[in-house]
């Protein structure tokens, strides 16, 4: 409840009709819990610029309790007190009512944030917790009212109480929460963002700004990380470089490798390529004072024997080459052919990124008897064709891109029918109006049939063209689809 509402005389847990009586122009809306929880989660992620471990506590409310593990982070803000100040001020600046605390345990921080002034405590938590109400232990409502009935209103009163009696009366959770708040038992939070277990970082006394310096640091960090991974017999497929700017923003540079690696030079090269690509977006602001290199998708990677028994089959070299190319050009720039089990020519081969190859379908290999062109146009292009001399015969010539071709040799037809078992894959040509082909296919099942011809013109060019629809049945359209060698 905000100040404006309190000023109007509204109180919490008031019935809607009472509230309407007090405040006639009240507008009531149902709360969309899912939406608010999602919005709060996104908001929590934004705080990862302050600390990598950000979590939302959901045991008391779906949203509203944000936990940051600031171990090793506070120096970026000039100490814990200033960090707390800064984080709270920036939220207050956004118009959000905020309260916070920094404490050695999650429970203590929560209690302080909810029932005390913003403060930083370390060391003796019991003294700080003692005067706070028992609700600060994140208990269930039934537990709180039972404690209050017994006159146990402050947390401090529980410290000296007989633990066995407390457990018997209020359940084990009370003792657990109590011990967690005092720091006797560690309480873990689930970070919202995936946590990199393997990382190395370097902090700078003076902020750095130049990309070259960043890459040099990345190289040093790669060697450190590589040593660590090697010691544990591991390799990783993704590497992330986090650049923490002085003005608390984080820039991320991520690269992926097609197979797990720990080759420091290779990792450095990937980052260099990626950085060259993103140089325009690079903005060091007032400087970078910490760089972290993290590895994720960590997989076991055995020792490699180098030397006498080295088999130079080149596959490792190739994978590294594709990694490097993809790191600069994007994963969709370097493609390999993947066969799909279908007769439809343009769907029979699809391109997939070379660094993310999937298993091949053994039934999809092309029929070696069928002649296929070396190049395929991305979309069949309509051509004007003089009428064939015989039904189902090859065309005597065509006009394509305003040039006339006269065919001297031709073979065909090779009939490619519609795949009736998968009508969601209609044959799409560049001119076919949307929706129509599927209708025809359902009506008579022949509308999408194609007759392919290989035709050679006087100059020796060999084309692959097809007629859509059967001869003598309605309108026929001709398309050029590919070029033979």
């Amino acid at each position: 409840m905000d100040e404006a509402a309190a000023h109007a005389g509204l109180v919490l847990s008031q019935s809607l009709s009472d509230a309407r009586a007090i405040c006639p122009n009240l507008e009531a809306r149902e709360i969309d819990r899912g939406y608010i929880a999602q919005a709060f989660a996104d908001f929590a992620d934004w705080h990862s610029n302050a600390s990598p471990i950000v979590s939302v506590l959901t045991d008391q409310a779906e949203w509203g309790d944000l936990i940051l593990d600031i171990t090793g982070v506070s120096h970026l803000f000039g100490g814990e007190a200033r960090m707390l100040d800064r984080l709270m001020n920036r939220l207050a600046g956004l118009g959000i009512a905020v309260s916070g605390a920094i404490a050695p345990s999650v429970g203590a921080a929560w209690a302080l944030a909810h029932f005390a002034m913003p403060q930083v405590i370390e060391g003796d938590m019991e003294a700080v917790l003692a005067p706070l109400p028992v609700a600060g232990l994140r208990l269930e409502a039934a537990q709180i009212s039972a404690l209050n009935q017994l006159g146990l209103k402050r947390i401090g009163q529980l410290f000296d109480y007989d633990r066995r009696a407390l457990q018997a009366r209020f359940g084990a959770t009370l003792l657990l929460k109590l011990d967690q708040a005092r720091g006797f038992i560690e309480e873990r939070v689930t970070p919202r963002l995936p946590l990199a277990e393997y990382y190395t970082e370097r902090r700078f006394a003076e902020p750095i700004g130049l990309m070259d310096d960043v890459l040099m640091t990345a190289r040093d960090l790669s060697f450190q990380l590589s040593g660590r991974l090697e010691g544990e017999g591991l390799g990783a497929q993704s590497f992330h470089l986090f650049l923490y700017r002085v003005d608390h923003k984080v820039m991320t540079l991520s690269v992926n490798a097609s197979r797990a690696t720990r080759d420091a030079l290779h990792i450095t090269r990937l980052f260099t390529n990626r950085a060259e690509r993103l140089l325009g977006e690079y903005d060091a602001g007032f400087g970078i004072d910490m760089i972290r290199l993290a590895a994720s998708s960590v997989l076991p990677l055995g020792e490699t024997q180098i030397g006498v028994f080295d088999v130079r089959d080149g596959t490792a070299d190739l994978d590294q080459l594709y990694d490097r190319m993809a790191s600069r050009l994007g994963p969709l720039a370097i493609m390999r052919n993947k066969f799909v089990n279908t007769h439809i020519p343009e769907q029979a081969v699809k391109l997939e990124p070379a660094i993310a190859r999937t298993a091949d379908d053994p039934h999809a290999a092309p029929d070696p008897v069928l002649k296929r062109p070396l190049r395929l146009l991305p979309q069949p292009e309509p051509v004007t064709v003089a009428l064939a001399e015989v039904p189902d015969g090859p065309p005597p010539g065509m006009v394509w891109r305003r040039i006339n071709y006269r065919f001297v040799k031709a073979s065909g037809p090779e009939r490619v029918g519609v795949e009736w078992w998968s009508l969601e894959k209609p044959l799409v040509t560049s001119e076919a109006p949307e929706g129509e082909p599927a209708d025809i296919a359902i009506n008579d099942g022949i509308g999408l049939t194609r007759d392919y011809y290989i035709a050679e013109d006087e100059g020796g060019r060999r084309f692959w063209l097809f007629r859509e629809g059967l001869y003598g049945r309605g309108e026929q359209r001709w398309y050029l689809h590919g070029f033979f060698a």
Partner: protein, 267 residues
Amino acid sequence: MEGLSKHQALASLRARIDMLEKRPLLAERAIPSNAPAFFALPGGILHEIFTDQIRDTGAALSFALGHARKLLSAERPALLLLQLAKDSLNIGVPYGAGLKSFGIEPDNVVIGRLEDPVDLLWAMEEAIACRAVAAVIADIATPMKALDFTASRRLNLRSAASGSSTFIVRYGREREASAAHFRWRVLPASSAPNPFDARAPNGVRWHVQLEKGRLGSRRDAVEWTLDWTGNGFATVEPQGDATQPAGGAALPGAHPAAMGDRLSQAG
């Protein structure tokens, strides 16, 4: 004596220049001196393959693929086909099933689709330097300023150093200065009669002119008609065509006086 020492000095200077220009790398892969030696040219060479028109794209690419096919081996299993993404609308995309029909295992082929010429040149250099790449074929349908003499020189040196060949497929009659070792002009030719059906086309056939570079010791051999056997090139004897006089360089549809032709195109 003095003449001899002058000769020696000249020879040693030439050797030095050759070394600076990495010529020994090319020379030691002795190109066989019998005429159609391009049946199996060694790796590490920069080729330029020109064809006159965009619509002859199939012939030019297949000629490059024919050369590259010979360079694939267990140690060098990869073949990269690079083109600009915007060109693919015009000249089409290499088709995996067609590569298989041509005799190249599609699994060995990686297709690169680049956004701009700088990326294309970068990708070419990066790929050539890899010791597992047999050949890089760049298919450039539009005029490219970035591909100047310096760029081609870089590609040439990289190819020579790493042993993977580079093929630059280009279109049109314009010839720019380039450091390519060989420059071919490739035109499609009417295919051989199909033994099973006289009206049907047969396999690939090219008219090939060697515009730059020399194969072996024969200077006169600059034009051939070639067939593709699925495994390698085969020369076609011009006697087969009754309308043409036998022997010499007079091939069906070939341009007379290839040397003069080349000079006239140089500008």
